[in-house]
Amino acid sequence: MERNNLRTFLSALLLGLLALSWQACSQNTAETSDLPYLGERQLVQREVDGQQVTDTVYHRIPDFAFINQDSQVVTSLTVQDKVYVTDFFFTTCPTICPKMKSQMIRIYEAFEDDPRVMLLSHTIDPQHDTVAVLRDYADRLQVNSDKWHFVTGEKDSIYSIALQYMVSAMEDEEEPGGFVHSGAFVLVDQNRHVRGIYDGTDPAQVDRLIRDIPTLLPKKKKKDADKN
C-alpha cells in the first residue's frame, strides 16, 4: 500500500515535470517563430518551366527620402538590410510623445551595439521641427545619429509614408498640440516588410518588440552549429 502511494506520487511528479519542460520548450519555439507579414498582400501569377506558379507579394514600404538631424539625407538605402523601428511624433507634442521616446530609448539601449538595427522617428510637424530643432531634440536625448535618425521632409510625403506604415497621423486643430497621431512603433524587416505594430507607450508591448527584433536578425553561424 505504502509502496503504491509512493509510486503514484512519483509518476505524478514525473508527469508534472514533463508538462513543465514541454511548456518551456514550446515557449522557446514561439520566441523564434516567424513574425507575420502585415498589410495588404497580392497574389501574382507567373510561369516557371511552363507551370503556373502563384507568388504572394507582401506589402512593402516604398522608397523614401527625408533629412535627418545632421542635415543628412536618409533614404530607403540607409535602411537597406537593416531591421528598423519607426514612429511618428513632434517635438512640441503635449501628450504621449515623451513616453514614446522614453520607450524608444529602451530599444536604442538594447541594440546600441548592433549595427543591424536602426531607429527612425518622423516628425509630423515639419514646419516647426526643422533640422536645427531635431538636432537639439536628439542632443538632449543624448543619442547617436548613426543609430537613431530624426527626420523631417515634405509634409505630404511624411503623411503618406505614415499610411504605408499603417500609422495614423494628421493635422487636427481640435487635438492638443494640433495633430492626431498614434503612439505606434512599427517593426520593419530588411526587405521593408512590416512585421509588427506595437503600442509605444506600453512597456509590456515594447518588451515584446525588444524580444521580436532578434528573430528577424540572421542567426549567427555559431548558434546554428550549436543547434545541429
Binding site: T91, T92, P94, T95, I96, C97, P98, K99, K101, S102, I105, Y137, D139, R140, L141, Q142, P176
Partner: protein, 141 residues
C-alpha cells in the same frame, strides 16, 4: 454581558472612524495620483524621472524646493524658457493646465511633494490659491 456589548460598540466606532478618515485621506491622495497620471506622467513619467535632458525630473528635483512659490502657477499656465534643475539646463516648454482648479492643483502638488522619493512640505489649498492669485492675469478669458 453589558460591558462586552459596550466594548464591542466602542471598537466598532473606532473602526468606522478609522476607515472613514482613511477613505477621506486616500481619496485625496488618489485624486492627486490620478490627475498626475492623466496630465503629467506622459512627460514627467510615472516615476517622476523626466526624460534625459529634455524633460526635467520631479523626483529629487531641487527646483521644487527652490521655487516652491511658483509651482502652482507653473502647473496652471505652463512654463517656457531655460530653467535649471539639479544643475542641468532644460528648455522645452511645458503647456499650461487651465482647466485644473486650485483644489486639483493642490492634490497634484501634494502627490509630487510626497512621492518619487520626495519628502517636501505639503501645500494647503490657501497657499495654492494665494500663488494662483499672483498669476491670474495669465488666465485666458
Amino acid at each position: 454581558m453589558l460591558i462586552k456589548t459596550k466594548i464591542l460598540l466602542y471598537l466598532a466606532g473606532i473602526a468606522a472612524l478609522l476607515t472613514l478618515t482613511r477613505c477621506f485621506y486616500s481619496d485625496k491622495q488618489n485624486e492627486g495620483e490620478r490627475l498626475y497620471t492623466q496630465n503629467c506622467a506622459n512627460c514627467h513619467m510615472d516615476d517622476g524621472s523626466g526624460l534625459r535632458n529634455l524633460i526635467p525630473p520631479l523626483a529629487g528635483a531641487d527646483y521644487l524646493e527652490n521655487h516652491r512659490d511658483d509651482l502652482a502657477c507653473i502647473i496652471q499656465h505652463g512654463q517656457t524658457g531655460n530653467i535649471v534643475v539639479n544643475g542641468k539646463n532644460y528648455n522645452q516648454g511645458m503647456p499650461g493646465f487651465e482647466h485644473l482648479n486650485a483644489g486639483q492643483i493642490t492634490n497634484i502638488l501634494n502627490y509630487v511633494q510626497t512621492n518619487f522619493g520626495n519628502n517636501n512640505p505639503r501645500f494647503s489649498i490657501q497657499e495654492v490659491e494665494k500663488q494662483l492669485f499672483k498669476c491670474r492675469h495669465l488666465l485666458e478669458h
